[in-house]
Symmetry: C2
Subunit: 370 residues, 2 copies
Amino acid sequence: MLDNVRLSKIREILEKKKLDAIIITSASNISYFTRIKTIGDASMILYLSKEGTTRLYVPVLEYYRLLEETRGLSNIEVYAVSKHMRIDGRQFHGTFIDLLKRINERHEKIGVDASTSPAGFKIKEMFGDKAVDITEDLWSIRMIKDDKELELIKKAISATKRGIEALADYVNEKITDTELAGIFEHRVRIDGIEEYAFPPLILLKPENSYPHNLPVGRRVGKKNLILVDVGVKYRGYCSDITRMITWGRPLSEERKALEVLVEAINNVIDKAEPYMKGSDIDSIARNTLARHGLDKYFIHGLGHGLGIDVHEPPYLSPGYDRQIKPGMVFTIEPGIYIPGKYGVRIEEDAVMTNKGIKLLSRGFERILSL
Amino acid sequence: MLDNVRLSKIREILEKKKLDAIIITSASNISYFTRIKTIGDASMILYLSKEGTTRLYVPVLEYYRLLEETRGLSNIEVYAVSKHMRIDGRQFHGTFIDLLKRINERHEKIGVDASTSPAGFKIKEMFGDKAVDITEDLWSIRMIKDDKELELIKKAISATKRGIEALADYVNEKITDTELAGIFEHRVRIDGIEEYAFPPLILLKPENSYPHNLPVGRRVGKKNLILVDVGVKYRGYCSDITRMITWGRPLSEERKALEVLVEAINNVIDKAEPYMKGSDIDSIARNTLARHGLDKYFIHGLGHGLGIDVHEPPYLSPGYDRQIKPGMVFTIEPGIYIPGKYGVRIEEDAVMTNKGIKLLSRGFERILSL
């Protein structure tokens, strides 16, 4: 399904910046602006010229799939790029480098999403002064989500919720962190989830005392504090949710830490207003933790944008001085990590509206007590 | 577990190329040369100077985990990099850019794994003539697997085998491609698998007629030809296996295509010798398909290296003119894709030895007939 409305937004950049052509290289940008399904970080180039041409250059092994996806559309042409394999149909017989050289010769001023993908970065180096980095222009469009996108993100969240609840049902002394991940995965797959936003993090103590970690295949045991940070993709849109499962009575310092996280999230929801800076929203949570002397254990930003990419602009973090505007979707995820002991994090997905923050991940417990 | 043998190999590059320092930026390189656990594509810099210093610069949220991993080791120092968050312990208080500027000022000739990661590429641009791209030197070490690495890859393959067999047990008319993926996932998680080599591809007709695709949530139905391309990571090492499941009697052209794939793989195993070029091994399979008039449907390379990365050098593909040497591990994966109709692929994992190719993925059916 080619999206002409979104493509026309790229054309506006082309006109506004007086460019001869635009090249889009990142799979998530191509996916957003065309609605064509991209898989993984496949190398592709979306090319738009000021004369009105729209072309998609893809590796041979993607050619027939994308030809099928764009069948019947007169406003986009698909070309296979290959040095060694010649296949049926109209095609560009050469390499991506050959293609880029020709584009470089033909134009004086070329927009590239240079900061979004390694390919874009290399193209900018190749084009030199001719290249104009349009990454920020594309993000300013992508950051504001429409109702359809919010709907897809909510569906991803619903599947995630069912997955977390299924996992919680299976917790027992002998089950391992990795098998709990498998139960989550099986459940969301029943809902038709085609892929994950990121590998499921089911972290026991002490693994959860480090914010960035993976399950290790250890049994839950008689009691534990299980950190479940999971996200799926539903028709290309991500969820990203963290819930804590208390299995057996937590220590009083653990209970306290959990309460402080809830307080921090509630303060953020209460106090954040549209057009506040990302850093100021981060401060609301960080100040709540500071009042309890726990801010030094909160060693990452409060949140990140969420959409086709699981981490995308905007950010809620110290030093991020841009505004959080209505339509922006992001996570709110304060955490407290006591190195080598335990870690707790709760993560909600939210959208900024004209009236303030609206949670997208409402309606299920932040702390599941078993 | 710091690996001094591997680190000493980096030091050999340092001496041989008369470098003042080496910077390693890709997570898989850092993981290989230090044996420290890296998660995802976390930004980190491993820095080695000719004076003998070895330092790991990491984001704040990775700091305590890596401090713990390197505890008691006197030959590596860990620094947290941050502009906005000051934490306990010895640290570099600044950004990665500040750090790189200091390194740039201090040295005349700096090795960088510039072609492996976007960060490496940017650093090369920043350092200009001072930068020496050592990507190939590192790959020439990483490409040759030792017995321990082969063992980990075999364990990843064993878990994958059990996962595929479990999935096959569950095939029925009403089950969907995504739920079959979930059954695979649940089974390998019981074996302690911490993450996947890539998202499981369980592809029905006609989705499997395109080599690069994802499950879509469709039911298997009364008969189908199920392509299962899956891989897991076991202690950081990847498997990558494709099996075909025939559910109900396949069409005669489908059966024929499956037989040709088996013939192509057997020919590759019989005829490939150590030190043959990657392109020549690819040709063995491509010629087999050509004898049956099916080579034009084989629209990707025959295989790719396999290790910490699921796609890494060497390659078995048209145009890859380097030698396949003893100790190199790679996939053998011929495929036949009839656009819009059906696709078949069988993929084995193998190691080149002094005597020729040895399969690592032996002992389970290439075609599971239900």
